[in-house]
Amino acid sequence: MSDAGQNPPSRPDRGEPAAAAPLGALAPSLAALVALLAHRFLPDAQVLPMSWTDTLTAWAHPYPATLEAALAIGLIGAGAQLLFPSLRPAAGHYGPLAAAAVLGTCVWDLATLKLAWLPLPYFPGPDMVLAGMIDDRTILLDSTYRSLRLLLSGYSVGVAAGLTSGLLMGWFRRVRYWGMPLLKVLGPIPATAFVPLAMILFSNAFLAGTALIGLAVWFPVTMLTTSGIANVPVSYFDVARTLGGGRGYLIFRVAVPAALPSVFVGLFMGLGASFLTLIVAETLGVKSGLGWYLKWQQGYAEYDKVYAALVIMAVFFSGLMSLLFKLRDWVLGWQKGLIRW
């Protein structure tokens, strides 16, 4: 059980019965097989436009090839958990989820290509979207890199500013008196409403984007840092003072760690706000990145590529979220068992 390393399998109230594990481990392979058979043997109903994928042989189409890879990986995984019992809880936990994901693409394939419930060009099947992704891989990779650069730049500026102003406002009553009204008036304006202003203030689109994202992140981080610091129980300060703690100790060894759970809520809210602002900023003014690519492909009615960009965004954003979760787990490890995450 220790090798699973994840919360779910270690929770006794959710443990799957022992017999379910082998079935769960085989589920992804079964799902991939079903999806593959459906894709191979059902007739196409959507009339596809001509594309470079037409020159590919049947087995080299990206969607069935991916399914075959999933089938192979699923079988290897199922075999591995038979050989190494320590993998079983993880296989039992993640197997059904992976199977559901594969079946999801199968349903998508059926609803579009196979049964044409959803019409072209707005609803391409998984094969077209994967093909679009491969076709535009260079520009997609470049766009992702540019989005990541802009996002990280804006997010770090916003977090640094938010932590600083939140700390000052939480600690000094006078700063809170003057700062809070400003925060309450400026904060709720969506950062994206400042796009016209940002375009004038900054000659460089990257700087304008950074400022907008920074502003979007600054508000929640400031708000939750302030309230986190202002709400630290007085008894902690009393204890620290009787132990001989000076002002630096009170701020950085008591107030800040005590406020961190609240600060992390702000960091999560800020990250969500930064995704939104990033995409809007890229669509409106910054001429690069995933948002820009999305808008550009929409202009050409290349919906397979629009979906390709959406898939990449999903991976990109959820990856960043998971990173922040990992950071939280590490920094707030002391809360484990105190509250349920």
Binding site: V239, R241, T242, L243, G244, L260, W334, L338
Partner: protein
């Protein structure tokens, strides 16, 4: 339990003199509330004195003033010859709630006083020794929420002791514990008091605890708090909780408290 001689680290105990100290608060509706009125008390070096009295007689206020967390409206307290002008590491304070820092492990909580004063490097081994002394050495890496109430108070005690206070102020430190744990902890506190030789001022609601532990018991009047009576406890240590002398003193205090207008009295827990 007997403390081995090599673990004895006697500190120079301090005398405490509280002279004519008053403290009033302004409440939310603007009325002035006097918690302490010209309160005076002398505590000898190494003495263990208990404060007993009805709720709201200003016992906790007095401890906060001596700890330097609040400033008196009038009067002055001194440690030895030094007037109290704010918190200081030579005075330790322990509350009813352990108030451990939940983000720090037991070890880091206990060494907090050393970190705060930049002394951790020189005195790191002492932290290990303190943890052994309060029986928490096997819980060094645990977080406060994983501890029982008694263990949390031991950790709080060790944290208060890490700075070698000359005066230890205890604000109902055992009030939240069950009776068995409380009696065991009383022995532990006494053991540490004897081993370290510091002066101790203990606020309690528990008459038995006051008799069992203290050299003198100070009975306080209700608001504003003033000294009603000071009783010397002349029983030999270690004391028997059910000896006739103990019970006699207990009866006398109960009568005095009743005479004083009733109040907290002895709690069953």
């Amino acid at each position: 339990m007997v403390t081995p001689p090599d673990q004895r680290q006697t500190v120079e105990a301090a005398t405490l003199s509280v002279e004519g100290v008053s403290k009033s608060f302004t409440t939310a509706d603007g009325t002035c509330l006097t918690a302490l009125d010209r309160f005076s008390l002398q505590v000898r070096a190494g003495e263990l004195v208990s404060l007993i009295g009805p709720s709201g007689c200003g016992k906790s206020t007095l401890l906060r003033l001596i700890a330097g967390l609040d400033t008196p409206t009038a009067g002055e307290s001194r440690i030895g010859d030094e007037p109290i002008r704010g918190p200081g590491a030579e005075r330790g304070l322990m509350f009813q709630e352990a108030s451990l820092f939940p983000w720090l492990s037991v070890r880091r909580n206990i060494q907090a006083g050393l970190v705060a004063r930049g002394l951790l490097r020189q005195r790191r081994e002492e932290v290990e020794e303190l943890m052994r002394l309060v029986g928490l050495d096997s819980f060094a890496g645990a977080y406060p929420h994983q501890l029982s109430g008694g263990m949390a108070q031991r950790a709080a005690l060790a944290r208060a002791l890490v700075n070698h206070p000359k005066l230890l102020l205890l604000d109902e430190p055992l009030g939240a514990l069950d009776q068995f744990t409380r009696m065991r902890m009383q022995d532990e506190v006494l053991r540490l008091w004897q081993a370290r030789g510091m002066t101790m001022l203990l606020v309690t609601h528990d008459i038995d605890e006051a008799i069992y532990m203290s050299d003198r018991i100070v009975l306080l009047t209700s608001r504003p708090g003033r000294v009603e009576r000071i009783l010397d406890v002349k029983l030999a240590r270690p004391r028997q909780r059910n000896s006739p002398e103990f019970l006699e003193l207990r009866a006398a205090i109960l009568e005095l408290l009743h005479f004083a207008g009733g109040g907290c009295g002895a709690e069953s827990g």
